[in-house]
């Protein structure tokens, strides 16, 4: 898919990105590029309104039996990359279960169109190179909103580039199958937008500050996935960066129950 000469600059870029703007530990939100990010967020919202949302209404009207095939096919193509990342992280168990999923779903699941592994209770251990970088100790970096792709961080953007450039899928399946990957990816994106339609709508179109909500949601959920401590503000004492007196709903300095 890519020649080595094309890959090296990408890796260099990734390494540079991952290296910059380290935030102090435990900072909830590190968003020095907020102005630019907000413009990209608006662009993405425009895209959602014009294309993604209308398209998702079409896929949502289709039977699940059909759309499930697209989602499961796309998920299956992502598995080899997850296996490699699992190994790079020393997560042998995850790598093995994702390998099992890939083999089972590609064969019995007819090229990944079906997901017999899920039915057997072997779920995807979702991972990527952004997580690998996190395991290796690379700091999260600043929050970034990517055009088309949405919320990310500097570390996750670097991970995305590496995953894209080094996808082991190119060694495993014929070129024709590889070429379907972008379509499967976009298809899955549209279908997922339809399935979580009302939740996404309430975030993007009903919130007072959709940008701030999306940022908070992404960072918290991403840290949860990476296994970073996401203890709530009132759960930790002194080390808590976003603690202010009112961060503690049951602090002793105010007692909301006094009025009742």
């Amino acid at each position: 898919m890519y020649k080595r000469s094309q890959i090296l600059p990408l890796v260099f870029l990734a390494a540079t990105l991952a290296g910059c703007s380290a935030a102090p530990d435990g900072t909830l939100i590190n968003d020095p590029y907020e102005g630019a990010n907000r413009r990209v967020h608006d662009f993405n919202t425009g895209l959602d309104k014009a294309l993604l949302r209308p398209a998702s209404e079409v896929t949502e009207a289709l039977p699940d039996a059909l759309t499930d095939r697209v989602v499961e096919f796309a998920d299956n193509l992502a598995l080899p990359g997850m296996v490699v990342n699992g190994l790079l992280q020393g997560d042998l168990e995850g790598a093995i279960s994702n390998t099992f999923r890939f083999v089972l779903n590609t064969t019995i699941g007819l090229g990944g169109l079906f997901d017999p592994a899920d039915e057997a209770g072997v779920y995807e251990k979702t991972t990527d190179f952004g997580q690998t970088l996190a395991v290796w100790g690379v700091p999260e970096g600043a929050y970034i909103v990517l055009p088309f792709l949405g919320p990310s961080t500097e570390r996750d953007t670097a991970g995305l580039l590496v995953d894209f450039a080094f996808d082991p899928l190119q060694f495993l399946v014929p070129v024709e199958a590889q070429e379907t990957q972008p379509y499967a990816f976009v298809g899955k994106k549209v279908i997922s937008r339809g399935r979580f339609g009302s939740t996404v709508d309430s975030l993007l179109y009903e919130s007072a500050d959709p940008y701030a909500q999306a940022r908070l949601l992404y960072l918290q959920n991403r840290r949860f996935d990476l296994g970073v401590s996401v203890d709530s503000s009132y759960m930790e004492g002194g080390a808590d960066p976003y603690a202010d007196p009112y961060a503690d709903p049951y602090g002793d300095f105010v007692d909301p129950y006094e009025d009742f």
């Binding site: 949860f224 105010v254 007692d255 129950y257």
Partner: protein, 196 residues
């Protein structure tokens, strides 16, 4: 010493005197039984076969019964709660109650066709965290944690964490942004929240 602390100490002392052997803090099993009831109610609504609109109405009622709304309202308002009058706080709390139960009641609709299972509980500084797994149709199971406290006088949940996403933090961000849009005018926010 603030009146609140004094009152608490008093309660602590009388509590200890009246109920020898009884723990002052909320126990894990109490918190868990609250969430068991809550989850049973949610699952019952899901299985009721009512129309979606009726289910959302039922979910609103559930939220209202099991959530510690005053403390959530105060947290969501953040530092602005400091300058609010008692009357404003009362009005805001009631407006917030309507807003929050409608918003999350609607969100519970995603659970239609699914199931929630209580997994276990652990102590947190402000009460008990009850961990559950949500098994929704066509999705890998995901974690939903309820934070429970009895500071209101009875065991109620005051926060929900879905896959790391903290509901109280989201609402503080949201209420803060709404207040900014209204140039910090709390009375206008209260009026608008009621209408949402």
């Amino acid at each position: 010493m603030t009146p609140a602390i004094r009152r608490r100490s008093f309660l602590l002392l009388t509590g200890a005197a009246c109920l020898p052997g009884a723990a002052w803090a909320l126990s894990g099993s109490e918190a868990r039984s609250l969430v068991d009831l809550l989850v049973a109610d949610i699952n019952a609504v899901i299985a009721s076969g009512k129309s979606e609109a009726e289910m959302i109405k039922d979910f609103e009622g559930i939220f209202d019964r099991y959530a510690d709304v005053p403390i959530m309202a105060r947290y969501a308002l953040g530092a602005d709660a400091r300058s609010a009058s008692a009357a404003q706080m009362k009005a805001f709390t009631e407006a917030f109650r309507t807003y929050i139960s409608a918003k999350y009641g609607r969100r519970f609709r995603e659970f239609i066709g699914g199931r929630i299972d209580v997994q276990g509980e652990s102590a947190i500084p402000r009460g008990v965290q009850v961990e559950t797994m949500a098994n929704l149709r066509g999705q890998a199971p995901f974690r939903v944690d309820f934070h429970v406290s009895d500071a209101s006088g009875k065991a109620l949940f005051f926060n929900i964490i879905i896959e790391g996403i903290d509901m109280l933090l989201s609402e503080r961000t949201e209420i803060g942004a709404m207040l900014d849009q209204r140039r910090g005018d709390l009375d206008r926010l209260i009026t608008d929240l009621r209408a949402l």
